[in-house]
Each structure stands twice: as structure tokens, then as C-alpha cells.
Amino acid sequence: MTTLAVRVRGRDVTAELAFAVLVVALVAVAASTSESFLTQTNLTNLLKQMVTTGLLAFGMLVVILTGGIDLSVGSVVAFAGIVTAGLAADLPIPLAMAVGIAGGVAFGSLNGLLVARFELAPFVVTLASLTTIRGLAFVYSEVPISPADPGFLWLGSAMAGPIPLITIVMLAVFGVGGVFLARTPAGRSIVAIGGNAETVRLAGIGVRRHLVLAYTISGFCAGLAGVILTSRVGIAQPSVGVAFELDAIAACVIGGASLSGGRGSAKGAFGGVLVLVLINNLLNLYGVQSFWQQVLKGLIIVAVILVQRTRRPRSAR
């Protein structure tokens, strides 16, 4: 089988290119078949709706690169949101939000500590913290909290020109995060740990430290997502965020990340987020009924990874 390979500065970018083509094709199909797609309102919706999945996906990517997984992000979203909303009554709003995010950071580093220090399986550690953190969110408040101060809504509704502020926040996370992963010793080490932790350890790099960092970043992203979501909705529910982790993981994998670690990129994960959000948006615009939406969404995801896979060189052959 002859395969076409596209190279930029010696790097094989064929897969990335194919993926970009896929996203562009999705957009083109959307634009030409639904007149609502290219409207200002719909585009703004798209920009807003990708924020939560986007933030969670970046944090998840960092953890996945180490070869781990973070199932607790949905619960952290709920916890950060409800705490922020609860504190907004007594604290200045930016401070309340900072506390919410700090909660995410704290839970993230706890996850990281358990994984790194005690060498526990990330799946089970974060599954346990999913349960515990969700419980804590309910313990904090069983009922939804809606802060009275209208300033609480600012973050979630401000626009920078045609672009929602929260989208810019998310893009900034991907931008800074992408540079972090590609250009800093810590970022590269995280990727390398996912490839072979022992090699990294022997190179004198603190593996545990970087593992904790990875989970902390995921916790930070989830906390930020929780705060943003609450500010967007204007009301915090302790029950929000169930199964959010699944979309985040799916975005990473669609974007080419390997769940065994060491492979994946911020660009790819962002592409994965776009694909998921576009699928949802399209199914809605076409007015597909909800249950059929679910049926189709699953099938489309399989189709997408099938398309992608045909571009991947056969592994051990």
C-alpha cells in the first residue's frame, strides 16, 4: 500500500492535516446544509458550548499524556461551582471564584499525590475521588444556589467583540498549555513520563513531581470550568457534571491521544473538542430527535476515528 506522506520540517504531519480536513469538511457540510449554521447566534453558541468540554479536555490531555486518567473532573466542576456560588454571598465575587478554582487545584493535587506517591492506579483513585467530591458538593449544599449579585454573571456573559470572554479564556488555556507541553521542561517531561517513566526517572527528572503537576493542572481546568459554567448559568447545582469526563476523554482520543500515554497534542485535543461540539450542534440544527441523536452521535464518533485510523501507519507491521 502506498501512502502519501506530508512533511513539514522533517515531521510527518499527514495525520494532523487529514484531521484538519475532517474538521473543515464537517463545517462545510454544516454551512451548506443548514441555513442556521452560519448565523451569528449559532456561531456564538458554538463558541460558548465548547468552553466546558474544551477546558476539561485540556486538563484531561495532560493527565492522559502521563498515561493516567482523571475521572473526577465532572465532580470537581460541580464542587467548584457550588462553592463559588455559595461564597458569592459573603465574599467579593473574584475571590469566591478564586476559592472555587483553588478547590479544583486542591483535589487535583490530591489525586496526583495518591497516584504518584503511592503508585495507585489512576483509574481507581480518580473514580474514588469522583464519588467523594460529588458527595462533598452535596454536603456543601443539597439545593441549587443562585447568587443574588448580578456581577456573578459577568464572567459567563461578557463579550470581547464578537467572541465570548469565556471562549477566549479557554483558547488561552489551550495556547499557554500547548506551549507548556511543547516548549517547557515540565511539559516535555510529562509527555516523556507517559512514554517511559523509568527512563525519565533515570534522567534525573522528578517523576512524582510531574505526575502531581499533571493532575493539578487537570484539577485547575476542572475548577475553572466549574466556575465558568456557574457564572454562565447563573445558578449552581451540586448534581451538575455527571459524565463530563467521558466527553473530555473522547475529545483527547479523537484528537489522536493514546490512553497509554506519551502521545497526544493540545492541537489534537482541541480538534477533538471541535468535532464533538460540531456533531452536537449539527444534530440539533437538523432537528434530530434526542434519542436518535444519541444513536447517531455514537455512530459518528466511530466513523470519525475510523477515518482517522486509515491514516495511521499500521503499528507493528
Partner: protein, 289 residues
Amino acid sequence: DTSDSYTVGVANFLLSGPYFSGMDAAIAAQAKTKGNVKTISTDAGGDAAKLAANVEDLLSKNVDAIIISGGPLESAPAALNAIKAAGKPVVLVDRKFAVGEYTSWIGPDNEAIGKQDGEYLTKTLTNGGKVAIIKGGPADNSIGLARTNGLKSVLSGNSKFTLVEAPDFGNWGSDGGLTVMEGLLAKHADLVAVFCENDAMCLGAQRAIASAGKSGQIVLAGVDGQAEALKAILDGTNYVVTGLNSPNVIGKLALDRTVEVLGGAKVEKDTVVPSPQITKDNAAQYLNT
């Protein structure tokens, strides 16, 4: 003297929702006021099999009666059979099971609430227009269907109104309501009203409408009487109506009913708790109940 002190088991299908945890709390609070009634509460976390197991647990702790808050569950034959076998009375709250024997049921008429909202919209939107429906979805489908059907029974017969159903679900939460509303706004610029199957979704939808700058054009109608919704109605926002479906009222009545049964009284089998329509005029009176 133990002869007139009772232990009542409360089997919740799912506590993690303000409506259901409110119900549980109301039952416990009412028991406290009695002095001689103790309650033991369990949560099945949304697992029907666990509900049955919890009921069996309660029976093995020898409770005198059981109240089942079945949430979205359509029926629980295994649980009801076990209670029947133990010869204990069972009072259902909110959800009336389609099959199985029970002693008494106390709950709302969901279709009536939907109808009520529809009538209010007909009355206030004299020019008619396009009304969107946001459904909750899987977690509690048949209650949602009843509410939506109530609304439809009023509006679909009126030629001035057109109905659009959002294709996706709001999943009974504010964040879902927000996202679904955003989708609706992108496709339908000319909405005049939105009906949501519960208040939580309407609260999210209200945010989406505000962000789109359409608060002056679109009014909202919900169900439940959630505190934040009442406040929005009272404040004179575009949230104009909801129908009270108060867990406090139902929970209180249920505990009373259970004690009556245990005292040997003959009771009404099914009791529909009225769901008064709440608008700006009367919202204040419900805000603190």
C-alpha cells in the same frame, strides 16, 4: 409506652435533586412535630434494584410502615411485593406506581400543571406566536411527557400558536436548560414563550434569553415552584408562571397519612395535591413555604 410510637421507613429512589431531598426533609420534619414518630431514610442512588434492597433492609429493621419516594421510577413491583409479604402499609409520594398494590398515594397531577401553564400563556399572549418546549429527558420521562402533554392539549388546539420542541434534552438541570435554549434561539428568532418541564431548566433558559438580549420578547413558564423561580416571578422578570409542585406539602401530608393509617383510620386511596398556579400576583405567598 411503645404502642403508639412508630418507626417509618422512607425509601428514596434518588436523593440528589432538590425536589427529592426536599421531600425527604419534609417527611422527617413532620415526623419531628409528632413526637412519637421516628423515620429512617434510605437512598437508592437511582438504582431500582437497590431500592428493592433498601426496602428489604427497612423491613428487616422492623419498621411499622414505609413511604416510597419513587422519583422517576414507574413502578417497583419487587419492593411492593416484599412490603405486602411483610404485611406493612406503604404510602407513595409524588410518583404513583403503574402496577403493584399500595395503601395510599399522595402526589401532584402533572398533566394539570402543564395545562395550567398553557392556559396562562393563552390568556396573556393574546397575539399568539411560537412557543418552545424544553423537555427534561431520560431521567424522568413519563412525568415530563405528562406535563408537556398538558401544555399541548391547550396550545395545539389554538391556531394562533405554533409549538416547537427542542430536539435535545435539558436533563432537568439549569445548565442543560441553558444549552438547549441557546440552540433554540439560533434556529428560531421569533419565539414568544418557552415552556420547560421543570423550573431548573427554565432558570437556565432564562439566562440564555437574557444573553441573547431577548428578555423583552420571550416569556417563560415552568413547573415545580423552585425558590429561585418564585423569586424571578416575584421580581417581575420574563419568568411569568409556574405551577406549584411542593415537596414540602406532599411530604407533610404523606407523613400525616402514614400515621393515620397506623392509627387504624380508613383513608382516601389517592390524593391529588392541588398545584396552584403561581404568578407575580401570588408568588410572595409561596416564597417561604
